[in-house]
């Protein structure tokens, strides 16, 4: 990574006037319209919004899993033309490869890139340490808890060193306590790796805990309502006055 990248001279992600329409028996559905924002290199951005605001559609378009009707998504300057190793995906349902061990899952992307065995094993070991799963390298996903599975999914996405980590409600399926733990671990990993993260969630508290900026979406058509910059230093405490203010403000924007 060059210094100019790190300084964010150009945005890491540029979502330019993205729209998505579907034909349905009830007529045309405007899932997204005129969505336009940037994510800077090294930034942590959360995308919140009520259901039906097109969060997941936007996630899939940025990930290159779905095409937009209008507009373009640029990643490090190039238009996204499909999923690839420059984009790390983490889903709510983990989607681990059940036939591969933990280390097999984490090493999957490296195998695709033809990284030799020695380097691969070293990198997998480092990543498992990073996500706190050393000792589980030879376990199969079926033996892991939800939180552990999500750590594997995160390590697997990080393995190929993507330009952007794109996460869709990654902690939506774990219990509240695990969720807090995973959030603080994610922040540690973020500051350690300097990754750019775009994080979709419907949990406003989570967004205020994690993000540099929160993009609030609105429904019908799915669009950006407002972008809220969270100025509070990390680690953030839910009992802080400013935390509550941000929380209330975003909730209001969502309800409006």
């Amino acid at each position: 990574m060059t210094d100019s990248d790190r300084d964010g001279v150009r945005p890491r992600v540029r979502v330019e006037d993205v729209g998505r329409r579907y034909d349905s028996p009830q007529g045309v559905v405007r899932a997204l319209e005129g969505v336009d924002f940037d994510v800077d290199a090294g930034e942590f951005v959360c995308l919140v919004g009520p259901s039906g605001s097109g969060k997941t559609t936007l996630f899939r378009i940025i990930a290159g899993l779905e095409e937009s009707t209008t507009g373009t998504v640029y990643l490090a300057g190039d238009p996204v033309e499909g999923p690839g190793p420059d984009l790390g995906l983490v889903f709510q349902e983990y989607h681990l490869f059940p036939w591969r061990t933990v280390s097999g899952n984490v090493g999957f992307g490296l195998e695709q890139q033809g990284v030799d065995r020695d380097r691969r094993e070293r990198r997998v070991r480092d990543l498992l340490e990073l996500v706190g799963l050393d000792g589980f390298a030879e376990s199969y996903p079926r033996d892991l808890s939800g939180g552990m599975k999500q750590r594997v999914a995160l390590a697997r996405a990080l393995a190929v060193d993507p330009d952007l980590l794109l996460m869709d409600e990654p902690f939506g399926a774990v219990d509240a306590q695990t969720k807090r733990m995973l959030q603080s671990e994610l922040l540690d990993i973020w500051s350690e790796t300097g990754k750019t993260i775009l994080f979709v969630t419907h949990d406003v508290e989570e967004a205020v805990t994690l993000a540099d900026r929160v993009i609030v979406m609105a429904t019908d058509p799915g669009r950006v309502r407002e972008v809220v910059e969270i100025g509070t230093d990390r680690p953030r405490s839910r009992s802080d006055a400013s935390f509550g203010e941000y929380y209330e403000r975003i909730m209001e924007l969502i309800r409006a």
């Binding site: 990930a63 190793p85 989607h95 490869f97 036939w99 079926r142 996405a157 393995a159």
Partner: protein, 273 residues
């Protein structure tokens, strides 16, 4: 046999001292073994009872069959028949299984291939392998190759549909993840995700196919190729029911051996489940 609670338990559930300890796998195996043996004894008794009221050419008693079995084994006829059947069973089952899986994966994966082949597949699917005996003879002759062909056809369809169903069931999300981790192209996706993800269905297909192939040994030898099936057919013509049962037992035994071996392989390959 008295078994100490907790002894020989190879599970990692931890030690749970108490009255309601789960029976160890060994206990369960022992119990099933006893029940199974009881069933065998009851079956033999019933057979014997019925057979004793019938002439031998209708239904021989178990001792008569045992005697015939030993005689067939001692004369070398059994080994010769078995060897001959294996010579066409192995290539037939292998080729049919391989082609079936390949075709099932390809058509399950590609909607274009699937659409293009669907009408032909639907016409060919219900054709019983035995109905293709004319082709076996015309194309390959009255020989091992012809018999292998019949067996292969049977294995093909079972493996085809098992693999097809397995591939259809592979989650799109796993494919998306694989693409996002750098997998490019259909062949790479098939190798790295589609086949491993559908391995449970594929291996179940292989196992079912193996059983079907042993059944087809009889059909495949109907036009004169020597083997176990030929012995059964010839004995049937001579009303030698004791010989028929003898070779049925050989077939069952071979099925059991191959099936058990394959099941062990399958369990290893699917240890992740």
């Amino acid at each position: 046999m008295a078994i100490e609670v907790g002894e020989g338990v190879d599970s990692d559930e931890g030690i749970d001292s108490g009255e309601d300890v789960e029976p160890s796998p060994f206990d369960v195996d022992a119990r099933r073994g006893v029940r199974g043996a009881g069933g065998v004894v009851a079956f033999l008794a019933l057979w014997w009872l019925v057979a004793s009221t019938q002439p031998t050419y209708v239904l021989p008693t178990p001792p008569v069959v045992a005697e015939t079995f030993v005689a067939e084994a001692a004369s070398g006829a059994m080994l010769a028949a078995l060897g001959s059947s294996i010579v066409h069973w192995v290539p037939g089952a292998t080729v049919g299984t391989g082609l079936g899986i390949a075709a099932g994966v390809a058509l399950g994966w590609s909607p274009y291939l699937d659409d293009a082949t669907a009408p032909v597949v639907r016409v060919l699917r219900p054709v019983p392998p035995l109905a293709l005996i004319g082709f076996a003879i015309a194309w390959l002759g009255i020989n091992h190759a012809g018999a292998a062909f019949i067996i292969a056809v049977g294995a093909f369809w079972i493996n085809f549909y098992a693999a097809y169903g397995g591939v259809e069931g592979v989650s799109d999300d796993l494919l998306d993840v694989a693409r996002s981790l750098g997998v490019r192209g259909d062949l790479e996706l098939i190798r790295s995700v589609v086949v491993p993800a559908s391995l449970p269905e594929i291996t179940t297909g292989i196992r079912t196919g193996i059983g079907r192939c042993w059944m087809l040994v009889v059909a495949s030898e109907i036009f004169g190729v020597p083997g176990i099936g030929r012995e059964i057919l010839r004995a049937s013509n001579n009303l030698r029911v004791d010989v028929v049962i003898t070779y049925i037992l050989v077939l069952s035994f071979m099925f059991l051996v191959v099936d058990t071996a394959f099941r062990a392989l399958q369990r290893r390959a699917l240890a992740w489940r």
